[in-house]
Amino acid sequence: MKAVGARLPRYDGVAHVTGRTQYVDDVRVPNMLWAKALRSPVDHAAIKKLDVKKAAAMKGVHAVVTWEDVPRLVYGHLEALGIPGDEPLLAKDEVRYKAQPIALVAAEDEETAQLAVEAIQIDFDERPALFDVRKAADPDAPQAHHWGNWYPHFEAEMDVRQIRKGDIDRAFDQADTIVSGVYRPAAIEQLPLETQTALAVPEPSGRMTIYSCTQALYFSMGVVAAHLEWPLNKLKFVGGTVGGGFGGKVDTATETLSALAALKSGRPVKWRWTREEEFLCSSTRAPWHIEIADAVTKDGWILGRRMLTLHDSGAYSRFSPYGVTKHSFHHTGAYTIPNLHFDGYCVYTNRVPTTAMRGFGVTSVSFSTELHVSRIAEVLGIDPFELRLKNANRIGDTSPNGIAYSDPSTVSTILSIADAIGHELPADSRTMTRDPRAGELLPKHLVEQVGKVDH
């Protein structure tokens, strides 16, 4: 084998270092218009009046797109996974977050487009807004979403993502110590150097070519096709060379509106988000609120875990229910914990909708549960390596949702790090492996949990 395992040069390396790699913003087509968006200046409000006539009549303006121009206004990007749509492409009767797009203007240049945006007449009736997920279930909480304040469409129309395993009450009963804590990782920006940009070009054939920075060509094409109610072959997505994504270029935030403006104006339309727009208007990594209580023995077995997760989905669902589900499947991290009581809620607030970012759903598990395990080691006075090694996944241990681990590398990665930093470990820790549990590593409380590995 020559190529696999080899440090071969990047396929696109020469293009990158000569400045020849072409991103969406580098594509040049004649007669191109520039787009700018009207965005909500308020957190939560009814729209009383929206009048674009003056803006549309301005010199140099070739299209103003509102909700009325969208054949299918609401399309849930993960409808195929059973997550119903809840978000209009453009605001119709109300806005639920500051920066929510209300209209798109296409004009000869960016300055003209921006002046037209400012000429759109709009009146709001403000409503109370909800920002704190912890208060979303309070009797007097403002209502952030038409479904209530958290997602109600998990399987069997449950409004909570649940994991139950073993007997949590017995675990807490048997514990020598119970350690609890609260963890709150923040919203951050994906912040790729390339901002979100789309260029929609109507073709003479009646097709539309969309130059897109998406991380997922067919996925985004499907979103546009759904909103436009077009078959896939009427669209051609061009892209595949993206200036960084990190999860922030899956939402398909620019393509559909650019296409609608191109349709309405009959000309190519480019919508390039400014960096300020990325900071203030683009979907972020979600903030999470996580409370954990672990039942542990004095010799460091984690018998059971109770966990509450409140995921801040922002004003709409996007991919959040999927993220909460993925989070639940991994909420034990790299350890085998036989008794589990997990409740996860996908909570709505009046902030910019949150979305995927590198590690989606699991980054929050890693932060909260690993910090919690470190705390447990401190409280019990046990070496943090030894505590982890003891509870680490072995072949045949089962996951929160009942799947056997076939080949976990937790032990080997931990031992590698211990070596790397020169941390001394006793012989019995040093010689641990991923082999199926036996002897001292198979105490009574784990016996029932050890499943069979199946491929």
Partner: protein
């Protein structure tokens, strides 16, 4: 007004207050300087003005009458890579590539003015350039190789 870019004089129609970045990209079709932020914060728009790295998103084009502007297109080609370009390619100093032109020009200028630049000088020269993909490690390996090669 006239702008000299990569040794070629252009008659430019854009207004003198237009940022150099958009004159280069929109009017002259020179697209290697990127609109990463248009706030002067990321360095992706960097060009050399008389050999000095400058943020083209912040300079009005009209202020550059008589200056020599250099972009990445002007320092090398796929067939004849400049030493700094070869170093970045060999050391994988680029992932998505969007920030790369800015880093290349800043490094190129550093080597011209400080041929024996040490790590502290390199850090200082590149501190204002953001890269989100690489974590800077291989960029620094490429820069140190380019600096070493220039000695």
């Amino acid at each position: 007004m006239k702008l000299t870019v990569n040794g070629v004089e252009h008659e430019v129609e854009s207004h003198g207050l237009q940022p150099l970045l958009s004159v280069l990209r929109e009017e002259l079709g020179i697209t290697s300087p990127k609109a990463g932020c248009q706030q002067g914060g990321c360095g992706a728009c960097t060009v050399l003005v008389d050999g000095e790295p400058r943020r083209s998103c912040l300079i009005p084009a009209g202020a550059l009458n008589g200056a020599a502007i250099t972009t990445v297109e002007g320092i090398g080609t796929p067939e004849h890579l400049a030493p700094v370009q070869a170093a970045f390619h060999e050391h994988y100093g680029s992932q998505c590539g969007f920030c790369t032109p800015g880093f290349l020009l800043a490094t190129h200028a550093l080597i011209e003015r400080s041929p024996g630049a040490d790590r502290a000088q390199i850090d200082e020269a590149l501190a204002g350039h953001a890269c989100r993909c690489t974590g800077y490690v291989k960029i620094l390996e490429a820069v140190e190789a380019a600096v070493g090669g220039a000695k």
